[in-house]
Symmetry: C4
Subunit: 129 residues, 4 copies
């Protein structure tokens, strides 16, 4: 069986980010949104910090999330506050955790008549040597 403390990395990056400005279909499931998905397969809670980068202003954050031991958290970027992520604006994300996690990023875009989806596993950042 797996060694829970060794599933993933402590730091991840996602270069693409964009929350579409409008939506078609009933909320919340068809609201255009982006989600950062974090898997914490370890036996300790993961304390996660999310820093968001923009084209023309300083980064914001860190936003703080907790992902319980042996849990996954699919956090809508739309729901972050202090400050909220602006809609219709390019951004990128850096995810840092105190225990190894696995990170994936997904968008649902329902601006036209049928939704479109994208996903990618994040880019893991190796530990400092």
């Amino acid at each position: 069986m797996y060694v829970p403390s060794q599933v993933g990395h402590r730091r991840w990056a996602i270069a693409e980010g964009y929350i579409p400005e409008f939506s078609n279909g009933p909320a919340p499931q068809f609201t255009s949104h982006e989600t950062v998905c974090v898997l914490n397969a370890s036996d300790s809670d993961a304390h996660v910090e999310l820093t968001v980068f923009f084209t023309d202003r300083e980064p914001v954050g860190p936003y703080r999330l907790t992902v319980g031991a042996r849990r996954t958290l699919h956090q809508r970027m739309n729901d972050l506050a202090d400050p909220p992520i602006p809609r219709g604006v390019d951004y990128a994300s850096l995810i840092e955790s105190d225990v190894p996690v696995v990170v994936q990023h997904t968008r649902l875009d329902s601006r036209q008549s049928a939704n479109a989806l994208i996903t990618t596993i994040g880019h893991p950042i190796p530990e400092e040597s």
Copy 2:
């Protein structure tokens, strides 16, 4: 030519998982679903264990699958039983095999009038050192 015993890794993780609750179009091909795709290029059968993580409850599994030598298995998550994966619920997956395999994860979402698709290669977990 390739060395079949060395194509891939024994452990993989997928942080995103979500089986949409409804569908448009004829079943089974347009049924909203997620699929874990496993390539076993080796000359030995792969015995695969799938553990599924949730937001607010303990993981379930392992579900056990066999992928024959020199075969690929595209297993619909919808078809897992004991227990079934609930629809409309966030989850994540850990895949473990006794021989190296390659893992990819795909969703077909047909809730609106035209289907949407996502895929990503999984995140490989290096061997313990």
Copy 3:
């Protein structure tokens, strides 16, 4: 500037493969298809061998492709012959080259009224040590 001989890997795997059986929209651009995209940034032609794995039969291939020095080839899997890849059947791919290349896999699915797309960078297989 980059060292052309060192961009990528000699072996790649893709676990997902499926050519949808029908299409909407004018051929060839809206024909449902899968494409293996190979970038050869090196100064030597790449001789590529493609092996295709199935659920319930032995692998077929290798299909042989040449990707010129400093060229990219986006090969539709639909166009492979001897034997053709069957439609509506699950498969997976192993790609081997005599010089390092980068491999990505894409599907266009036009079975419903608006096309859906997926892509992922392949999984690189490290050199034998």
Copy 4:
């Protein structure tokens, strides 16, 4: 907190590239396009060179972009000039930077009635040893 100078790699490759020839919906947001997304989490500006490879002609570029310190740039391939990227033509990309960055590639295809999207994290090229 992260070490900004070590987030990512100096060289990345994307094997898939294709700007669809037509679009549905208001420009610019629904114009069919491809975007290379670059995250520069470092404290130094990133000077980025983009080389584009084709099926049947020599590569073009490098196109030069600057991504400020602690910024992300989502550059539409459609907007590159000298020379422009032709529409409806297969291509691939090599991205080189003087500081480590993270690269992701996205397409919006609005040729049919509802847009389709794809994305993938690029393939990082390790440093020369």
